[in-house]
């Protein structure tokens, strides 16, 4: 069976700064994999290499068996099948919520206006912001914006979804709404690679948890092991800091 995502000896340099130092990792279809680790450890860079928003310096990335690091690959076609959700939402501020969810359907998938609108409304309803179709992003709360961003990605019928700290820019009371949507997606069997600091979510939803530090994968396994009973000192220290921020 082909992996949904496969990273082989992935290296990424920014100038002389080696940010990813040889990552090997797989995500199987239908799996939810959470990536945790301290800030600056390369989690975002790893995620962005999957859909080639960053060009890896060395190594290979496969998505559903297609080598996306190959120079001849049609990257736009690959990206159509990968939804991405950003920490800062990145909604298009000059379009309403509905237009945000319609535009790529129309311009990329060449769907007609009516079909795009029906799909957009379905997905906005699904993430609980159906009543906000005509609002501009600036008129929505962070939690609502992030859910519109998720609907925008889902409307493209992606085979897998990447989330880069989707709740880190939210006020604490709004985090739950977004996590609920993500939980629902996971239950429906969506393949998800999620960078997060929400340990509760990772423990309950993830099939696997990957702990990264300093550009390498330190620990990779089921949440009961990586979060519940970490082997490595670095993982233990990180979890201690995250779970007991006061102490």
């Amino acid at each position: 069976m082909t992996h949904a995502i496969e990273l082989k000896d992935l290296h990424k340099y920014f100038g002389k700064n080696e940010v990813l130092k040889g990552i090997d990792m797989t995500v199987e279809p239908g799996q939810v994999v959470c990536v945790i680790g301290p800030s600056g450890s390369g989690k975002s860079t790893l995620l962005r290499c999957v859909n080639m928003l960053e060009q890896p310096t060395k190594g290979k990335v496969f998505v559903q068996g297609v080598e996306v690091t190959h120079p001849d690959v049609d990257i736009d076609a690959v990206r159509r099948r990968i939804g991405m959700v950003f920490q800062q939402f990145n909604l298009f501020p000059h379009m309403t919520a509905l237009q945000n969810v319609m535009i790529a359907q129309q311009r990329v998938l060449r769907r007609g206006k009516r079909e795009a609108e029906v799909t957009a409304r379905e997905n906005l309803d699904k993430v609980g912001v159906g009543a906000k179709c005509d609002s501009l992003p600036g008129q929505l709360s962070g939690g609502q914006q992030q859910r519109v961003a998720i609907a925008r990605a889902l409307a493209m019928d992606p085979d897998l979804m990447l989330f880069d700290e989707p709740t880190s820019a939210l006020d604490p009371e709004l985090v739950g709404d977004v996590l609920t949507v993500m939980r629902k997606l996971a239950e429906e069997g969506m393949t998800m690679l999620v960078v997060t600091h929400e340990m509760g979510f990772a423990r309950e939803v993830a099939d696997r948890v990957v702990f990264m530090d300093g550009g390498v994968v330190v620990e990779d396994g089921p949440p009961s092991q990586v979060i519940g009973d970490p082997r490595h000192e670095r993982t233990q220290a990180f979890l201690h800091r995250v779970l007991h921020p006061e102490g």
Partner: protein, 275 residues
């Protein structure tokens, strides 16, 4: 200092700050009054009025002042503006292109046309038919004026657009690309519409500049139906040996430029609130 009791004598200041401020303001008013008195006494008001504000000469300017001169000023400025807008956008996109020669060409153009006096460009345009035999700028004098204003305006407008394009956060392009849009599709659908909104105030100011620079059409040797405000005022002034028509033309410029200036700053204010 801080632990001194508040009742302590202030440090030997003979005048309190407030007193000083009052005196300073008094001196400024005094200078103003003296200057006004001098001007009022020594200026030859009769002669000034005769030369710059003679009612019967001003009357001669109507209605051509509006029906021909102002109309042509607006035609030159608006035509030049559209030219500058399109070419400026193209240059701005070239300026940030991945293809290095495009960047060089755009940079060269921008540096040259911003560095030269606009008047020089207009003088060169009059020599175009000599330089390129058989070549004629379409639409006659209108075409020449619009070409001159457009070539110069494009260089400035390009920098306005570049600033606008670069002010759109990188995350916008990334979101568009991650949805499968090509680089050019992302520019057209996501980046340019936002950049254009951001550049509306500086672009309005650019239009005001072009309105004023359209006076350079004077040097194209235009006449009759093609004259704009400056040339119109100048011709009438020579005819009557009186500067009143130039004043009248000046006031007509201000009627257009000042409201546009206010519009630009209001748009700027609104942008500030939306962010």
């Amino acid at each position: 200092m801080a632990d001194q009791p508040t009742t302590a004598e202030p440090v030997r200041a003979r005048l309190s700050p407030r007193k000083k401020q009052q005196i300073s303001r008094g001196v400024q008013y005094a200078i103003l009054v003296v200057a006004l008195v001098v001007v009022a006494l020594y200026a030859d008001w009769g002669s000034l009025a005769q030369n710059f504000a003679k009612a019967d000469v001003a009357e001669q300017a109507l209605p051509d002042l509006f029906t021909i001169a102002l109309r042509n000023t607006i035609i030159y400025a608006a035509g030049g503006f559209i030219f500058a807008f399109v070419l400026g956008l193209l240059l701005a996109l070239m300026r940030i292109s991945q293809v290095r020669p495009y960047r060089w060409i755009a940079l060269l153009y921008i540096e040259i046309f911003r560095g030269l006096p606009a008047l020089l460009i207009f003088l060169m345009i009059t020599f175009l038919p000599l330089a390129l035999p058989g070549f004629e700028v379409p639409f006659g004098t209108y075409g020449q004026g619009i070409l001159g204003l457009g070539l110069v305006g494009a260089a400035y407008q390009a920098e306005v657009f570049r600033a606008g394009l670069q002010a759109v956060p990188k995350g916008q392009t990334e979101a568009a690309r991650s949805l499968g849009m090509s680089a050019s599709r992302a520019q057209v659908t996501v980046v340019i519409p936002q950049a254009v909104r951001m550049v509306i105030p500086p672009t309005t100011n650019q239009f005001v500049s072009l309105l004023k620079d359209s006076s350079l059409v004077l040097f194209l040797g235009v006449s009759g139906e093609y004259v704009e405000l400056a040339k119109f005022g100048n011709d009438l002034a020579s005819q009557y040996a009186n500067a009143t028509p130039i004043m009248v033309a000046g006031v007509t410029y201000l009627i257009v430029t000042i409201p546009l200036g206010y519009l630009a700053s209001r748009l700027e204010g609104r942008k500030g609130r939306n962010r």
